[in-house]
């Protein structure tokens, strides 16, 4: 037993950290137009741009801050820039980054980069992606800021242990008992589509809970809902063609994409082939699903059009706000111009109905609150769908405070959401919940607990050392 066990432990750890690999010059690429095009298509299917292109920034030049429960993770420059991008990546470097989450200098990537999904990609596809990134993307010689998560999460070496425990993605092999369409769908969903990165709930260490695959998870201030065929909580009530339409356009009468899904549709899904969209739908529809919960109806099947206008119309705005119908008054003043007085939306469905709408009927009110605070911005084809925000943005239609949002949300849930036998909404929104979403979503206790854990560890080791010292002194006497 040494006198300073902790220091020795630290030294050992440092020695174990891998040295930066010398970058090998990339070999001349064995590429053709077809591979390049396939790489471009795969980059679209993988939606690299969603993270690696900042708003108003150059394609793939990074800089976007991704909100995670552990802090902001900044996407890197993955243009072939030799000074600030991946221009010096060999194909082996590229493969390692995508499959194992290790970058060329040997440091680990955070799983905000969904290498846990991309590990399912085939060798041929990763090759095509490499060709695309080396030859199909313009180099941008601009640096990005460094990600700096709070201690101890800034120690990327910790990801090695995490990967050992939780990362096991291998290239997928076709299941011969399933159709070609199903296999293609599985490949797209579990590989480039990385649907589980958002839609699968995560455990304490931020690992995907495979036993609850695609049953819904928090993504910053938004909620990526259950997309299993469960009728009540998932999308089992959707027809095949509806699911395809949703992926292509982000819109059905009963569901509209916002937040990260709107981005995914805009940058990725709307550009996929009809066959690929159909394959994704086929795979999702065939997922095994647990027994449906006690809810009898789907989350797209709640509520009815109606209004409470008689309670305050003609009385004056101030009176309407101060009375028992404050929620209805807020709805009328802020929402009804587009969503209509009774919540039925416009006849052409452009402004969505609020009854029989998946946001209002979901298992939590996260997306309802986030939609109110952040609005919707979705460009698909020629159409630019835009709902203004109601937070503190300069272009907020009206800056609603937490109480207002809560009162409004509770009105909407009571009228258009799921209610119990007595007609009361099963969900209740509090001002605190609104504040949490305003701040970007729930924070993980992982950092605090990790720090506490480390602190406890240090104290334990110190006490152990002290005990050992005293024992040795006692022996000498």
């Amino acid at each position: 037993m040494t006198r300073r066990p902790f220091t020795r432990l630290l030294a050992t750890a440092c020695l174990a950290a891998p040295l930066p690999l010398l970058a090998a010059a990339p070999a001349a690429l064995d590429s053709d137009n077809e591979t390049l095009a396939r790489g471009a298509y795969l980059a679209t299917a993988s939606d690299c741009t969603a993270c690696h292109t900042a708003p108003g920034g150059q394609p793939m030049a990074g800089g976007l801050e991704i909100a995670s429960p552990l802090g902001a993770i900044i996407a890197t420059n993955i243009t072939p820039s030799k000074s600030h991008g991946i221009g010096d990546y060999s194909e082996a470097d590229f493969v390692r980054a995508l499959r194992e989450g290790i970058r060329a200098d040997g440091a680990n990537l955070y799983p905000a980069m969904p290498y846990t999904a991309y590990g399912h990609l085939s060798d041929a596809d990763i090759h095509a992606l490499y060709v695309y990134f080396m030859e199909g993307v313009a180099p941008v010689d601009t640096p990005t800021a460094e990600t700096a998560l709070p201690f101890p999460m800034n120690l990327r070496v910790a990801m090695k242990g995490w990967n050992l425990l939780f990362h096991d993605a291998e290239p997928l092999e076709d299941d011969p008992e399933r159709s070609a369409e199903w296999n293609r769908g599985r490949y797209l969903v579990e590989g480039p589509g990385h649907c589980s990165s958002c839609h699968t709930p995560r455990g304490f260490f931020m690992q995907e809970r495979d036993d609850q695959a695609l049953t819904g998870a928090q993504v910053g201030p938004w909620y990526a809902p259950d997309i299993t065929p469960d009728v009540a909580a998932g999308i089992g009530s959707w027809r095949h063609d509806e699911l395809v339409t949703y992926l292509r356009t982000g819109k059905l009468d009963q569901a509209q994409a916002a937040g990260s899904m709107a981005e995914a549709i805009e940058h990725s899904f709307q550009h996929l082939t009809e066959d690929d969209l159909g394959a994704i739908a086929t795979y999702l529809e065939a997922l095994p699903t647990a027994e449906s919960s006690s809810q009898a109806r789907s989350r797209f099947d709640h509520g009815e059009p109606g209004d409470e206008l008689a309670s305050f119309r003609g009385d004056g705005y101030a009176a309407g706000l101060s009375g028992d119908s404050r929620g209805a008054q807020l709805y009328s003043a802020n929402c009804s111009s587009c969503h209509q007085a009774d919540g039925s939306g416009t006849d052409d469905g452009y402004y969505p109905r609020l009854y029989q709408n998946g946001v209002l009927g979901d298992v939590n009110a996260t997306n309802l609150i986030a939609t109110i605070l952040y609005g919707v911005d979705r460009e698909v084809g020629d159409e630019h769908v835009f709902m203004p925000p109601f937070g503190e943005q300069p272009n907020a239609f009206n800056a609603l405070n937490n109480d207002d949002v809560a009162v409004l949300a509770n009105y909407l849930l009571a009228r258009f959401g799921e209610t119990d036998d007595d007609g009361h909404p099963i969900l209740q929104v509090s001002a605190d919940e609104v504040q949490e979403i305003r701040e970007g979503g729930p924070r993980s206790p992982l950092i605090l607990l990790a720090r506490i854990g480390l602190g406890v560890g240090v104290v334990v080791l110190a006490l152990l050392g002290l005990w050992l010292i005293r024992r040795r002194k006692a022996r000498r006497r």
Binding site: D307, A310, R313, G314, A319, A341, T346, D348, Y350
Partner: protein, 175 residues
């Protein structure tokens, strides 16, 4: 083609149109819930809705009916009796539609009948600037043209989506 200049025309339904208020401000009667709540579900409210339905053969919003009834009770002495009288005339004729019994309403109750119809169609107690506002969204005037003209302040269609074939004058949409 007639040309006419505006003249101080005598309105046939003077009580409906009233005069223009000097104030020009809108006046609030106070929180509706306070004085209308008493009426909800009362026999008078129910009979008033019944009468409204006989005079106007369309789907009628109950909340709006509550407000109109409560105001009518203040405006017309003996409202309950008058409501019964008119309903009785409709029953006597076994009328399924207003056209089948309206002519038989006696002069002293005509004004109330017209007022009720105007209240539902205009959403207000009169055309004056200081009229009581019962409803805006449920005012029946908008229902007669909702296939082609929006209720002001409410979106009609997707952006730039309102250019559609001109609607025929008849039939009136069902409502």
């Amino acid at each position: 083609m007639q040309h006419s200049s505006p003249s101080p025309g005598v309105s046939r339904r003077k009580l409906l149109l009233g005069g223009v208020s000097l104030l020009g401000y809108f006046t609030f009667a106070g929180p509706t819930l306070a004085w209308a709540r008493e009426f909800q579900g009362t026999p008078l409210h129910q009979r008033f809705m019944e009468l409204s339905g006989r005079l106007i053969n369309h789907r009628l919003d109950e909340g709006t009916g509550l407000r109109i009834a409560a105001f009518a009770a203040q405006k017309y002495a003996g409202l309950a009796g008058r409501v019964e009288r008119i309903i009785a005339i409709a029953d006597e004729r076994d009328a399924q539609e207003v056209e089948q019994f309206f002519d038989a309403i006696p002069e002293e109750d005509r004004e109330l009948a017209y007022w009720i119809i105007a209240a539902w169609y205009s959403g207000a107690s009169s055309g004056a600037s200081d009229a009581e506002q019962f409803t805006f969204e449920h005012a029946l005037t908008y229902q007669t043209t909702l296939d082609i003209v929006p209720i002001p302040t409410y979106a009609f269609s997707a952006p730039n989506g309102w250019a559609r074939a001109p609607a025929p004058l008849l039939p009136v949409p069902r409502f």
